[in-house]
Symmetry: C2
Subunit: 111 residues, 2 copies
C-alpha cells in the first residue's frame, strides 16, 4: 500500500514505457525484479507502483523516493543498469519524468 | 491523502501535459478547479493527484475512479469540457493513458 501525501515532500519518478502488448508482462516482471533485487534495499527508496494500460501498450512505474540524491545513488548500482538494459531491449521507448506531488483532491470515503 | 492499493481495483487515468514552464501554474489551477467544481461531486470519483515536474515542462494528473464507466459519465458534463478547452489552450500536448495498478512494492516504514 502506497500513500500519496504532498506534505511529505517525496521525490517522484513516473517512468512511462511504450511496449508491444505481448511484451508488457515480461517488462513488468523485469521492473518488479529490479525493485526487489536492488531498490527495496536502497537508502531512501519508498515505493514502486507498477501499472499496465488498458491496451497493454504502456507500462508506468510510479516511484517514490526520499530525495533525488537517493534515487541517483541507487541508479549507480551495476545491477540496476543491467536490469535497465534488459528492459530497454523490450520497449520501443521510455520516458522518465521527475515530479513533485503538489495537490491531492479526494472524495469523501464511502461509508 | 491518496492510497494506492492494487486489491481495490480502481480505474487509473494518468494524464501527462506538456507545457511551457511559465504556464505550468495556470494549468495546475485549471485542473484543480475542474476537480473541485465537477469531479469531487461526480459518482465514482476517488481522487486527483497533481504533479509538476522538476523542469516545470510537465504536469501530471494521477486520477483514481471506481470504474471507467464513472469516468466517462463525468466527462460528459459540459463544465468538464469547458475546463478542458481552457487547459488545451495552455498546453502544447497532453496524453491521457488508462491503467490498472498491478503491483505495489514498498520499503518497510522507518521508525
Amino acid at each position: 500500500m502506497t500513500i500519496l501525501d504532498p506534505s511529505v515532500g517525496y521525490f517522484i519518478l513516473i517512468n512511462t514505457f511504450t511496449v508491444e502488448p505481448e511484451k508488457a508482462e515480461a517488462l513488468l516482471a523485469i521492473l518488479s525484479k529490479a525493485t526487489e533485487d536492488v531498490f527495496l534495499h536502497a537508502p531512501g527508496f519508498v515505493s514502486a507502483n507498477l501499472h499496465i494500460s488498458d491496451d497493454r501498450r504502456h507500462v508506468a512505474n510510479y516511484g517514490q523516493w526520499r530525495s533525488k540524491k537517493d534515487y541517483e545513488q541507487a541508479g549507480k548500482n551495476p545491477a540496476v543498469q543491467s536490469h535497465m538494459r534488459e528492459a530497454a531491449k523490450l520497449v520501443s521507448s521510455f520516458e522518465p519524468v521527475f515530479y513533485d506531488l503538489v495537490k491531492v483532491q479526494a472524495a469523501e470515503r464511502e461509508a
